[in-house]
Subunit: 247 residues, 6 copies
């Protein structure tokens, strides 16, 4: 489900693909993405990593609400469920903490939990025809995984409200003007453009790069943990509601 390819000792591409157009994030997929991040973290020759979803169709439609593991949880107690609901946050944290440049390469739809993952990376490069959408609240959930403070840092509180509270759908042009993504290109040029950024990063000396990335992340994230450590509890609460009514 996850593919890692090295362009060189300094640059790697990671892709995750469920085999379906929606490229949903199951618990299994998320555990794999955590493991990949942890493995790459200890490779101190790496300078840059790209992350792609289903490059033919969509980055990801987000968390898989029909995941069989999730359904099995329905009879578990809240303590067990909560451990599961922390997996998404753990995945986003793992990717955020990588010491090299991380670029999310986005095509098609980037939805919900897919966007939560995307904003955990350093930069977001999208195709011109990408779409961004956070339907969580429409569906009865909060947007968790520590994504609220990350969105806030990128686009400010009013645009975060439009995106999350009102579920506004953005195209790449608007997402770029908001600062949600950093570049957009014709889909043909997408990977090549991302690789140029990686190549640029691969020429940077490691020590000051690592020092500086840590500093930027710490400054923009500092109150994230205290402010979102409980967001999975809101999620669990909303989920318990849906279990009782909807499934």
């Amino acid at each position: 489900m996850i593919n890692i390819s090295f362009q060189s000792k300094r640059v790697a591409n990671v892709s995750f693909d469920s085999g379906k157009d929606s490229n949903l994030l199951s618990f299994a997929q998320m555990r794999s993405l955590i493991k990949v991040a942890n493995d790459l973290k200890s490779n101190n020759e790496l300078s840059a990593v790209t992350l792609t979803g289903n490059i033919k169709k969509n980055f990801s439609f987000g968390f898989d609400l029909r995941d069989k593991e999730l359904k099995k949880l329905n009879n578990s107690n809240q303590s067990v469920k909560r451990d599961y609901f922390l997996i998404g946050k753990e995945m986003c944290d793992a990717w955020e903490s990588l010491p090299f440049l991380t670029i999310c390469v986005i095509n098609g739809w980037c939805v919900g939990g897919g966007l939560a993952l995307a904003v955990s990376l350093d930069l977001r490069v999208a195709s011109s025809s990408s779409k961004f959408y956070v339907p969580e609240i429409e569906r009865g959930f909060n947007m968790s995984w520590g994504s609220i403070p990350r969105l806030n840092a990128l686009v400010g509180p009013a645009k975060t409200k439009r995106l999350v509270l009102l579920a506004e759908q953005l195209n790449s042009f608007t997402a770029h003007s908001w600062g949600l993504i950093d570049y957009y290109f014709d889909s043909n040029a997408l990977m090549e453009s991302a690789m140029e950024l990686c190549n640029k990063a691969s020429k940077m000396p490691r020590l000051p790069f690592v020092l500086t990335k840590e500093s930027i992340n710490n400054h923009s994230n500092i109150l994230n943990k205290i402010g979102s450590y409980a967001d999975q509890d809101g999620f669990a609460l909303a989920y318990s509601e849906l279990e009782n009514n909807l499934y």
Copy 2:
């Protein structure tokens, strides 16, 4: 002076109107706006509320420096004055803390304390011909009511300085490009457009909406209180200066 009308059980419109084109905020008007906010807060069927000023002329020219209550204060001690100068902050805090979507609908001039109120709401929808202006410092005051950190969160420190320290006047186009407002429309379409946003919000389930609005507000406001709890003391100081010299 204040009118509340319900479009449905889930959507309400609040307007305040002094009866004059300037639509200044007197202490009485501000107390009414606090009371309205507190009343609406406990209505847990509400999904969205708009706030308008004098819809024919101007949103508001801000705090009424000729308010008779203010003039009567001139013989009071600073402890009494300070209680009065806290009213504006209390009004902005009351509107900021509402659990449903709040949209400020702005036409004409949105000046000083009027803008302080506007940035306490979730979103700002303006007419194309609106103007934004903070003349406080020109007139000898600081911009208080907790508005500095709210402006900072929306437009960053440099643009906050242009707006507040240099009293730059902005039209809707510039205000939108800065992120001070979220949308602008022809004045004919203004209310209708705001209502569309409200209708969208009215379809959202309450639990995740409330959870998420709290989270966004907490992340963007967290240091506001410690950083602006004393701004009315600066105001009182400046006001004492004006009393002695100018009135």
Copy 3:
């Protein structure tokens, strides 16, 4: 090396010029800039100060790595070096803490430590042909002097990464769209335009101006000190590496 001229009792122009096109910042130059800031700070008639580099060529190419004082340090211990590496931070802090309006007037290249200084002032006015560039990491250093949190406050974490981690060069148009600079003008109109802003500031009453500038700075800087107090240690570490390998 440093020239101060008063346009009036309320407005002054400060320029620093090494006599070379690169207008590098030597330790001596930086100590002079600290002294000038401290002297101006106690002048309570001042309303606005502009800071220019070599107005014919470039604002500055940043910290002078060939400064003879720096080379003499090579035999000193880290405690002595660290005192030197704190000078840049002290310079930026001194300019940031001035109570009146400070405008950085930028022409030509604004590079590395030059940009660190520029973002310590209130506003940045550039010529249309200016260029912005942070080559620190390419050269083996981190971007220190407390500049990371200041950049973060102006352009957010993703654009700070593009500027600092990837050393993207920006022209004035892009720098303006990012919020890194506030205005750009044809170079003929540059000083005149900056002076208009100064003249506007010179009409503002001092008490509320000072109160409000302090408030805006405190809100946007609050976590800067805790987050960057050690950045010169990263610099010293990187520098020790270069000493051993490259000089």
Copy 4:
């Protein structure tokens, strides 16, 4: 249920008493305590207020888990329940925000939500035989109402863990040595001693008193809101667990 008596224009005593030895806090009782706090807040002649529970028996055994209103909630959705679970936090916030000196006078047991209320006041004066106990976790709940950061500010993280995670019971001597309470007296002397503190406060000029109390509270509370705004969601989650298993 709530009694307010004025010793003078400047000093008032508030007591709440359920009529039972346990003096549990029902929703109705908490709403009354909020109303009292809000009413007293606007009385700008007041200098000091004491709060007592059942002065013959116990301060309070905390939140009433057998409250009929709570039982009625069992069929409500989580959105409705959450509004109820916020009442305790609202009560603690209301008492914390009072501008005059607030003294909690404690006799007998001070348990769970009773202690959450007690630590929202400025000072805690107890009888020598008082006992302090947080059984929330033993009973399946988290300690919510914003009390964790308040305890942290008074006794630090390790002692907060002993009190809350391990449910250690403290007598007045230990509570005093920890800094959880400020004074303890023989129960005969309790009210008199508290009144001496009130009388001392009643001689203080209002303006600097209010300014300074705000400052101390802001410094010690600043990150409380972001860190505990979601604690009622944890509570709701734990409660849903208990509902399913225990009631």
Copy 5:
């Protein structure tokens, strides 16, 4: 008025003495203390400095409300007064920011602004018969100079309230048990004991000492500036009240 003596190249003693038993802090005295701190700061051979008041009588009774410079200010505008009221904060900040060990040696009374200065140093060594007292509020002022957050960090919010809001007088035993002072000795042994601490510090290598002192100060002070940058405005307000009524 100020005496500096060097015990060795690494240890210096600073004493300030108005010539009167009260040893009040006049503006002139405070400017001298700022200058001394700034001069010592650049001496990178220093390891430790003690600060004493009138060693025969009292450390200091605090800010001199009868200072002639203060009285001259009565006709000045608030902008000028505010610059003066910032001097105490500047003094405390200057002493706090020194890179070597700073020990406040306290005998007799340590009152108001004298205590504000004392808590800006690293450690406080007192004689057994010292007394600590903050009468600011009794006299109509707030306790400013950034001292509230420093007291909060040492003794927590409840004890800060007892000290500042209720003007409790403490002897050395209580001050020590609270953590307000670090050691107390018989007055004969006072200076000798302080010098032992200095001698211990003088054996520490400078680089890690400086790094670590910065780190501890940053962690305990981080929100001080945002939370107390306006405390002189409260002071100015209270002072204006007193001017009108009492002088």
Copy 6:
């Protein structure tokens, strides 16, 4: 080198022992302690874990400056060294983030890095004859691994300075009165007493326990990361100094 024994499904004991009385922490030992923490973290039946050093002699004398891996590093570049110097921080973070109760059981000396590890756990239980000592600065290093903010949270800034800047040695009585340790017992009763605490924890329901521990940790740690993320750079700097002069 590391032993894990389970008292029951809910309680485990971890001990690390180098085989020597000093029980120094080598890089290998620290990697083992990280692995153990990560393994235990995923065991959701655990309620409490004790950590002991060499139970016959000493908890630990801290980081092993004679570790062969460290000596091999002498020819490595700073980027490689920095990765190594992060291991101590990673170890402390791993133990701090465990969701169950963690008790450090201390006998004999608890020195430097040993104390850094000890303060990362929830509680510290020591034998009556234990000694606490931070000789880092005497030896030319800063106290890193994120320990400064953890010490600050437990004992405040002045006592942290006495412990770290002046290397004061504390016995258990003083360590307890400062709040550095939570209990002390005769060494015969040490493990038994620790196990009683574990047994108490083992009776607590997991959901509210985990929620609450997270909350307490987040409140007391929130600014730790931004304030200490660079402490290993100070360490690397100091170490480079020692390499050049002392080894």
